[in-house]
């Protein structure tokens, strides 16, 4: 079977999930939602098929599972968002269309993704500007600078910046990795690369620290620095760099945490969300509610639409003007930060583990792409993008399940919100471009392409 036919077949479970999930929610909540809303599901699946046709034309050799897995995650997101609020699900379906537009744009205009190497410093500067833009625009939410508002449009720049940073690092390290690993001197048994080559990497560490301190975004900071260490490790194969980097990050983060009440609070809440009773720092309630929601789930969950989310009757706050789920939900932010807790509450441990498994499978396809990629830049880019994607997943689910302190990053493809869908669709498009290149049969390769690097 050809790769594309396998892809089409793999979209079947997505269709089943969308149909089954939407019907289940509709049956349970039919008093509160209209039957028109069922169309969102069909609309969503039709979009997936259109994207599939596009992939058939432009990326015939790309990995057949990357897109269906991403679509599966988006389908889970659609169903859960639909369960939370049918209006939001309508918007989520439109945002998914926007994501597909960017996906299509990426695979059409960036057919030769190696061209990105040429603009790496521009991309690096652009990413850093993006990252700090909420701070420069003084847009503070919950003491952190996460969002940029441009008129009616608002987005989280860190979602795009993570791709840019990885592109830069992959490109830079593809060129300098030999210097870093071979030309290094040993001092007291520790490998020290020449400062000249290490400089930009120190800059990355500095940027991560600065983010932590100025932008106060622990989640993105962890994500970026983790992605950086992953690319560095793949490029040099030196665990010592990773350990040194991790040590530097932890030292810096520990130092800053004690001077940034916001970060310190999050760490305290993480250590014991039930400490302090009524004097618990603000935000302790969030993680408490997350754990309580998961405790309701058990092995199999309460069933879609069956868990307690919207506060009933007299419990609903009278001053809730924005409307559910923005307020009046027992679990705060059920459609974004805490969507994983909703999944566990309604689909149980098996639902949660199943979702994590989809991410693990997607990561497997991404790393597989890195393994078969034919040149250093492609390998590093694929590995870096996959690592940052997996790390983002770990950071948010880990925050919701109290593995690590809670930080405000989105759950890729599942959380409600446009930026996340668009940015991650671009990420998947890049992985598929690399994969298409790597899996292309010899007969269709351009002359000289086998040597690696960009075609002349």
């Amino acid at each position: 079977m050809s790769a594309r036919n396998r892809e089409l077949l793999a979209l079947l479970p997505v269709a089943l999930l969308v149909i089954g999930g939407f019907s289940a929610v509709f049956i349970v909540e039919s008093e509160q939602i209209g039957d028109l809303s069922l169309i969102y599901g069909g609309y969503f699946f039709a979009l997936c098929l259109i994207a599939h046709v596009l992939i058939r034309i432009r990326l015939p050799d790309a990995d057949p599972y990357l897109f269906p897995l991403a679509a599966l995650l988006a389908a889970v997101g659609m169903v859960v968002v639909y369960r939370i609020d049918d209006g939001l699900a309508g918007r989520q379906a439109s945002l998914f269309l926007l994501g597909l537009v960017f996906f299509a744009a990426t695979i059409i205009w960036l057919r030769d993704y190696r061209a990105l190497e040429r603009y790496r410093y521009l991309i690096a500067v652009g990413s850093i500007v993006l990252l700090f833009s909420p701070f420069l625009l003084r847009n503070q939410v919950n003491e952190a600078y996460l969002q940029v508002n441009l008129g009616p449009l608002s987005f989280q720049p860190s979602e795009f910046a993570k791709i840019g940073v990885i592109v830069f690092l992959a490109s830079y390290l593809a060129e300098n990795r030999e210097m870093l690993s071979v030309a290094a001197r040993k001092f007291l048994g520790i490998t020290i690369p020449p400062l000249k080559h290490f400089g930009p990497l120190i800059a990355v560490w500095g940027a991560a620290m600065l983010m932590l301190f100025v932008v106060r975004d622990l989640g993105s900071s962890v994500m970026f620095f983790g992605g950086f260490l992953a690319v560095l490790y793949v490029a040099t194969s030196r665990l010592s760099y990773v350990i040194a980097g991790l040590g530097l990050f932890l030292a810096g983060a520990g130092f800053l945490a004690r001077r940034t009440p916001h970060v310190q609070d999050r760490v305290d809440i993480w250590l014991d969300p039930f400490a302090g009773g009524k004097n618990a720092p603000e935000g302790a309630g969030q993680i408490q509610q997350s754990l309580f929601a998961q405790a309701d789930g058990g092995l199999f969950g309460t069933g879609l639409g069956e868990s307690l989310l919207r506060l009933p009757g007299p419990f609903f706050p009278p001053d809730c003007t924005e409307g559910f789920p923005f307020c009046g939900s027992i679990l705060p932010e059920p459609h974004t930060d805490f969507i994983y807790a909703v999944v566990v509450s309604e689909l149980g441990l098996f639902g949660g583990a199943g979702l994590v498994l989809i991410y693990a499978l997607l990561a497997a396809r991404g790393f597989k792409t890195a393994l078969i990629a034919r040149d250093a830049f492609s390998k590093l880019l694929a590995a870096g993008l996959t690592a940052v994607f997996a790390l983002q997943t770990f950071v948010i689910i880990g925050g919701v399940t109290k593995v690590i302190p809670l930080t405000g990053v989105t759950l890729p493809f599942v959380s409600y919100g446009g930026t996340s869908v668009v940015a991650n669709m671009i990420l998947i498009a890049l992985l598929m471009l690399i994969s298409n290149d790597a899996r292309r049969p010899r007969s269709r390769r351009l002359p000289g392409e086998d040597l690696g690097g960009a075609p002349a």
Partner: protein, 489 residues
């Protein structure tokens, strides 16, 4: 460059494994302790989304129902007590509200009322998508007799004075009446302000369920226990004569009969008929502390009554010192205990159990409120199950005591009393405990049952305080009025 990529994936899998491990911790392994955390409002909200079952009396008066509040697919239910005179039933039914908690039968029968059931049944319901619903329960309480009791108490006591009536079905233990005056309307308890007002009213506190929580000097009603113990242990028989002059020295202090009257050599029957203190105190001393306390145990003293009622709303009866029960090892003036004095305190429920035990041929039945419970589909899931608690005395002894108690009503301290089943069908014992000799304040008691041949009802009536009064005059008529309502009904 491939080896690090593979190791990187291994790391990702490890991290994801950690996520699954923690998810299982919260969703499964620690779920129960999380559900019990005080910060967790979910169980509270879920509980209110269950319509609690109705509470109805044996004669069909609806006492409690749940009404939906707010719209949407999942309304919240609020308790309402719809009887026209809710205060008549405030005790013992109690209340169930989010802000103030739960008491009385609402608490003790909570499992039935909230539809809590075994794990298997609830999984089946989940599969069938049936929302949980509470069972309706029917109480053994007879609303008409309860009203009779409350009205009779209210007209007998002055303001701020309490009183109670307990009526039991001797052969089943069914509680037909449990009246506590002053009462409270459970509907107003929902308001936290009213609740604290009601709670702060000291000893007259209407929230206090006197029949089970109030401990009082039982006075001469205790002599029924003494007679029973003395006859059952063959220490005396109805014809045993003892010198009953007044005063007699008991435990080194002179004890007087009522009015200082000396009776000379009299037998047990006339000593009970005339409630002769010196006779029964001497019998108590002959029995000794150990024997006497063991008979008290058999009648249900010295432990919480085996009633289906919240533990913290029941007090055991017995000899108290500084709020603690004394055992047989303690120095107890058992002669005075035998006539209801000393540091002996008893609840009205306990004294009703004494009367019911004699009426039931010497077997104490477990008292109960639950006549029937029906699940939402109308299936009976629980029924009154007459359950013996202990054999206090032999059947012959019980018959002898019953006969002697009939004499009390025929010609003794309760001779002014009668019931509708005819002359000579009432058995009883009066009690008058002096609580303030100077102000001549007494507690008035009456315990009894009727009809003697085939007892259908046993009653204890108690007035907390009256001036220069006797049990037979004040408590007796209340008891017979309640008996008549039940015997006629």
């Amino acid at each position: 460059m491939n080896a690090p990529v593979v190791r990187l994936y291994a790391l990702v899998l490890l991290l994801f494994g950690l996520l699954v491990y923690f998810t299982s911790k919260w969703a499964v392994f620690d779920a129960e302790s999380l559900e019990q955390r005080p910060e967790n409002r979910r169980p509270l909200i879920a509980e209110q989304q269950i319509p609690r079952g109705d509470i109805t009396t044996a004669d069909g008066v609806l006492l409690a129902e749940s009404l939906p509040q707010g719209q949407g697919r999942r309304p919240v239910f609020v308790r309402r007590y719809p009887a026209p005179d809710p205060a008549t039933f405030g005790n013992p039914v109690g209340y169930s509200f989010v802000d103030v908690g739960r008491t009385g039968i609402e608490l003790s029968e909570n499992r039935l009322l909230s539809g809590e059931q075994n794990e298997f049944a609830s999984i089946l319901d989940q599969l069938r998508d049936v929302p949980p619903e509470g069972a309706d329960i029917t109480l053994t309480i007879d609303a008409e007799a309860q009203r009779t009791a409350v009205q009779a108490l209210q007209s007998a006591v002055g303001p701020g004075v309490g009183g109670s009536v307990v009526a039991l079905e001797p052969d089943t233990g069914a509680v037909k009446v449990m009246a506590s005056v002053p009462g409270f309307d459970p509907n107003v308890v929902r308001n936290e302000q009213t609740f604290s007002q009601l709670s702060e009213q000291g000893t007259t506190s209407p929230l206090f369920n006197r029949p089970t929580q109030g401990t009082y000097e039982p006075g001469s009603t205790m002599k029924v226990v003494t007679v029973a113990a003395a006859l059952d242990s063959a220490e005396v028989d109805p014809d045993t004569t003892i010198n009953a002059d007044s005063p007699k020295e008991i435990s080194g202090f002179p004890l007087e009969n009522s009015g200082g009257q000396s009776f000379g050599e009299i037998d047990a029957t006339s000593a009970l008929t005339n409630s002769v203190n010196t006779y029964w105190a001497q019998v108590g001393e002959r029995l000794g502390t150990g024997t006497y306390l063991s008979y008290m145990d058999r009648f249900g003293f010295n432990t919480d009554p085996p009633l289906d009622y919240p533990d913290d709303q029941m007090a055991p009866s017995g000899v108290y010192e500084a709020g603690r029960l004394l055992g047989s090892g303690a120095a107890i003036d058992i002669g005075r205990v035998a006539i209801g004095q000393e540091r002996l305190l008893a609840t009205p429920l306990q004294m009703a159990e004494v009367a019911a035990t004699i009426a039931n041929g010497g077997t104490l039945m477990k008292p109960t409120f639950l006549l029937e419970a029906k699940d939402p589909d109308g299936r009976t899931i629980r029924e009154l199950d007459a359950d013996p608690e202990s054999r206090a005395i032999s059947e012959e002894t019980a018959a002898q005591v019953a006969e002697m108690m009939t004499n009390v009503a025929n010609e003794g301290t309760a001779s002014g009393l009668s019931v509708s089943t005819g002359a000579g069908t009432l058995a009883g014992k009066t009690g008058t405990a002096e609580i303030d000799v100077e102000q001549r304040l007494n507690r008035a008691w009456f315990i009894g049952f009727a009809p003697v041949d085939e007892p259908q009802i046993a009653v204890a009536a108690m007035i907390e305080r009256c001036t220069a009064c006797f049990g037979g005059e004040v408590a007796g008529p209340i008891a017979t009025e309640v008996m008549n309502t039940l015997l006629e009904g």
